[in-house]
Amino acid sequence: MHNAVKSFGIRASTLGVLVVGAVLAACGPAASVSSPDGASAPGGGATESMTQTDTSALSNSDAREVVVYTSVDRNFSEPVFAAYEEVSGVKVLPVYDLEAAKTTGLVSRILAERPRPQADVWWNGEFAQTLELADAGALATYESPNAHGIPQAYRDPAGQWTGFGGRARVILVNTDLVAEGDEPDSIRDMVETPAPEMIGIASPVFGTAAAQAAALYAAWGAEEALAFYKAIADSGVQVLDGNGVVRDMVADGRLSWGLTDTDDACGALERGSPVKVVFPDQGPGEDGTLIVPNTVGLIDGAPHPDEGRALIDYLVAEQTTADLVEAGWFQVTLRPISTDNACLDAKNVRGMSVPLAEIGNQFSVAAEDLTGLFIAP
């Protein structure tokens, strides 16, 4: 090959070393995340008390910021962070998960960062991944005093996470396509319908649909639950790319009804779509529907543990729950809280009685079965 050409490449390589060095040097840290190595003790074992507005513990800290990784939809979580910044004066640096990443995003990131955590707080829109992080030892112990009133079933006995309001799995029905009185009232109706191609669910391998699958595994036993999903797979029910897609297809009339979350259902209601929401399996002797609480935990070895605890206090406070109900993210409060503008009246909705920990235990079992059924058939 030509010497001139070769040596240009070689010189360009040298130039490259210099330019890359300059680029790296020029780009400073976006977040002055202080190193937790050495000086900062992991949060494990530290149970402290802070009230919602008590940020005095932060006043002597140089680091007036807190890093939060959240799987909660940005349009709901961002205003909460903005309000907290105003109240506390602490800068919130969020990283948002995306449904497109199929929940491989932030949980994997937290686990990969374990030797040197970057995040202070994990705020999850559901609970299964939080249980997984707790099992992996990625969460520290912190029981917020603002969690009073939340039933023990929604709080980790070891204090590594707190559930604080959330959503429920619902059936969204297109009222143009399904006559009043003919609406389904059980998830079992999915496999007992004459037109399964007009019914949709999100892939039960990801997100809250996966949590529901794990819940059914825990409540019915693996054999019956797998048979149910096999029936769905065989029947021609549409298995879609997320709860939002189910909502849109029902709202557009491309599906008669589908299984989704209350926040997605509220989105369709607020847009004036011809839809109706049904809480499934509410009859006597029936299972109830899955309540999907939000969960929050302090990252073990968080760079800003005090700021992290203060943010958790703010998130689990009753006022924040009320704000999130009004915003449309929560439809279930877990404790008596008076709210306005709730999209759905879920006060009397009966949830499944299976403990979250048991659901968590079934998560990987169900995921493996259902991956074989729906992803790699």
């Binding site: 030509h2 050409v5 490449g9 977040a31 190595d37 040197r116």
Partner: protein, 526 residues
Amino acid sequence: MTGGRAALAAGAALYAVVVLAPLLALLGPTVQFVSHDPAAAAALVFPTGDRLRLLASSSALAGAVAAASGALGMGVAAALWRRGGRLRSAKWLLVALAPIPAYLHAMAWMTLGHRVGVGLAGAGLPSPGPFPPVVTAWWIEVMAFLPLTAGLSLVALSLLPDDLVDAARTGGPDGRAMRRVALPLAGPLVLSGAALVFVLTLLDFSVPTLLQVPGYALAVLADFSARHDPGRAVLFSAPLMAVAGVAGLGVLAGWRRTPFGSSADHDASPLSLGLAGRLAQMAAVAVMASQIAVPAIALAAAAGTPRRVIAASQGAAAEIAYSVAVALAAAIIAVCVAAAPASALARSRRVGNVWWPAVVLPWAVPAALVGIGLITLWNRPALGYLHGSTVMPALAGAARFTAVAALVLLADNRRANPALMEAAHIHARRAWQPWLRVRLPLAVPGLAAAGALVFALTLGELGATLMVAAPGHGTLTMRIFDYLHYGSSDAVASLGVVLAGAAVLAGGFAALALAAGSRWLSGSGS
């Protein structure tokens, strides 16, 4: 060690740090998994039964997409080749279209299909659909990757030695020159473009997921999502990486076998093909036009008025600025780092063979794993200022797309006329003069094209960026996927317009750099 070898070694070290080290960092958890459960590891690496069938069906879909987009891309390129005036600038439109995510194409075509079906039903006519999901997925992937194959085919044709083509034209009709000279000579590079599309399709999970088409890439994600074990994910995706790696070798082989001419942009008369050739070109151009028109109309219709686009842009101003900064930094890093492999691949076959796996490997690794590798590599006390900083997404873009830049620079290296440099060395008074006055202007088009391509690809990157984005910062693509989840189609469309606009600017910049380089070259040469 000579200065040249030392510089090449430095370049190789840079490539190793920026591109290879994040991938090699995955070896740790992989070895850990293998040592803990060798039987499970073996079962993952050598798929049988359902997983083998899934790999075969995913490969078949990717092959069908590569074949169709390769053929259509060649048709479009043949229609644009040797065309002057405004048509010459059309190639930069291809650069602008390349980064539009396949997901947006899917939305546009599915919306079109739904509305056509509703319209036909309203008129009492039978609807042609619904098509089988795998056919719809195939079409959308072809549409998404058509700008890439068309662009690479155009590059292949533009780099052909003009004297060979013109000599062939004197001996017979243009159609025969096309069939017997141009196509065989450009073939390896065209096929390498198709092989690149094969790899990209094989690794894409978004469109198959949307259309309920089972795919191996989604199975990797599903397994990773349930277990969060990067070592297991590497082994699970090993068969996918093997198939992608073989295709990647095909890409490189095509790149190395293409005879490159010394000039690409001078005025030359277009070939006049026969009726069949013209019809094939027209058909390909019509498909390309629909590739542009359907998303454009769908985006414009959903976005609404320009005021709404501006409002959405203002709402995402921080993300736009961050994305442009990240993509620009990634392009700079990638172009610099790609110089060493491009130079090495252009050397003897022995040296080139050593580099092949190093250039192919980055294409075959799923994006989320690249992100995990970056965290494993850079999240260390001594390098604390890096992880969590704005540099990391740029490093993610560079890690994923430097190999693409290397191929562009390799082509540019191979088309450079050595006589110019030798003459410059003889007549130069100072050592730097040949580089500044001859080689740099000659290199500008390649550098600009490589930089623009990496810029555009980084703009659309999601999987690795999500893993390393700095807290408090997000990219435009992250924002678009965020809105997609809400079903906010007007905001998605508005930001899609902004994304395409940014890519158009990148293409425009590259075109300006090309023009400036040509002017500089003319001045130096006089």
